[in-house]
């Protein structure tokens, strides 16, 4: 039920918003076409402005993943993390999920292929991936776009939230999937 409602909202959200804004605009006698063009002109500038920030972050994270660093960190962290009940297979995922969305999906795909779609560890991995957001990417891109280089507590807050997210998804997964 909830699923159907969310699905309907997600497919109709954009058409509805575009419809509503243009109808309301013309009702208020705004010259909709000219106004759209005026606003739209700024789009290219934003796209170009974020290029250096995206390159800096994506290249750094891409190199890090290619070097095998994540496997190395996983190895060192595994005694501690299995102690708190995290399956060893999920450790690389726990690290990648803060760095790269496509990377996390890739790791999830691997876990699902190895264990099957019905396995507990696959469901945990799916929950951990679904509840993640690529903190480093978002911070670099969003702050970069307005020229903010001193992130203050945003970075610590984001990383803390990521770590807490790993534990919360393990906990909720344990309750829901067993």
């Amino acid at each position: 039920m909830l699923k159907e409602i969310f699905f309907i909202i997600s497919i109709s959200a954009i058409p509805f918003i575009l419809f509503f804004i243009s109808i309301y605009g013309s009702y208020k006698k705004v010259p909709v076409y000219e106004t759209f063009i005026r606003g739209s002109k700024q789009g290219f500038g934003v796209g170009v402005r974020i290029i250096p920030y995206l390159i800096a972050m994506l290249v750094a994270v891409g190199m890090f993943r290619a070097s095998g660093a994540i496997e190395l960190i996983s190895e060192y962290l595994s005694p501690f993390l299995s102690f708190i009940g995290m399956p060893a297979e999920l450790i690389p995922l726990a690290i990648v999920r803060s760095l790269s969305g496509s990377g996390a999906l890739g790791v999830l795909g691997e876990i699902a292929a190895n264990n099957g779609g019905e396995a507990y560890v696959t469901k945990l991995a799916a929950l951990m991936t679904g509840s993640s957001e690529t903190t480093f990417y978002v911070l670099a891109l969003y702050f970069g776009s307005v020229g903010v280089t001193k992130f203050r507590h945003a970075l610590v807050a984001g990383i803390l939230a990521d770590i807490i997210g790993i534990f919360v998804s393990l906990m909720i997964g344990k309750i829901v999937f067993t």
């Binding site: 909830l2 699905f7 909202i9 997600s10 959200a13 954009i14 804004i21 243009s22 705004v30 106004t35 759209f36 063009i37 606003g39 739209s40 002109k41 789009g43 290219f44 934003v46 796209g47 995206l54 390159i55 972050m57 994506l58 290249v59 750094a60 891409g62 190199m63 993943r65 070097s67 660093a69 969305g101 699902a112 779609g117 696959t122 469901k123 799916a126 679904g130 509840s131 957001e133 903190t135 978002v138 891109l141 969003y142 702050f143 776009s145 307005v146 020229g147 001193k150 992130f151 507590h153 945003a154 610590v156 807050a157 984001g158 803390l160 939230a161 997210g165 919360v168 909720i172 829901v176």
Partner: protein, 209 residues
């Protein structure tokens, strides 16, 4: 801080790559991701321009003002720095809603626009320093509220799960718990490390007394 993190990624990749014998892969990744980054930015231009165009209509018709009045109570509590009629409220709400619905490509332009608005109300003398509102917004954003984890469901379906949608409810619960904790963390941290502009104001207050 970003300087150290970036340096850490680059330097440790090369050192680790050297020892794992994957130096070539590290180099290839650098070239490959530079290319991906540019294509990603260009891919954003279309949606960004579309949203900015419609936002202009919404702004000039007074819709933005109406909407921001509607969600004022929440915004005022979370972002005390931004004026009640600011467009930032709309962009922030749209960014979070689009993310929650799994419309990631649509969410980014809203988010970038929100940052631009927040930067206008950044009271720090040095505008390269993040404001409290920016940190709060990004904490909410990176908590990653998720109603439809579409790509995750696709992976589950492809690997033979009988009911990929069972991931939806736990995702909603998890991300809401994380969101709640993230807001607490960011609000505590902004008191521990106050904005430069607020430290200045606090000092002026002292000398008045």
């Amino acid at each position: 801080m970003i300087n150290y993190i970036w340096l850490f990624f680059i330097v440790s990749s090369v050192i680790i790559g050297f020892f794992t014998g994957r130096l070539k892969e590290v180099g290839d990744a650098a070239i490959e991701y530079a290319d991906i980054a540019v294509r990603l930015s260009i891919a954003l231009v279309g949606v960004m321009s579309l949203w900015l165009g419609f936002m202009k209509i919404a702004e000039e018709s007074g819709l933005v003002f109406l909407f921001s009045k509607l969600i004022k109570p929440i915004i005022k509590r979370l972002f005390p720095d931004i004026p009640a009629d600011s467009k930032a409220a709309v962009d922030i709400t749209m960014n979070i809603s689009a993310n929650a619905l799994g419309l990631n490509n649509a969410a980014t332009p809203f988010g970038l626009q929100a940052m631009k608005e927040l930067q206008k109300h950044n009271n720090n003398p040095d505008k390269s320093v993040a404001s409290d509102s920016m940190c709060t917004f990004l904490a909410i954003n990176t908590a990653g509220i998720q109603f439809i984890p579409a790509s995750v469901m696709a992976v589950l379906a492809a690997s033979g799960s009988s009911n990929p949608a069972e991931i939806i409810a736990p995702c909603i619960i998890t991300t809401f718990i994380v969101l709640f904790i993230a807001i607490i963390i960011v609000k505590v941290l902004e008191r521990v490390y106050p904005e430069p502009s607020k430290r200045l104001r606090a000092k002026e207050g002292d000398s008045d007394a």
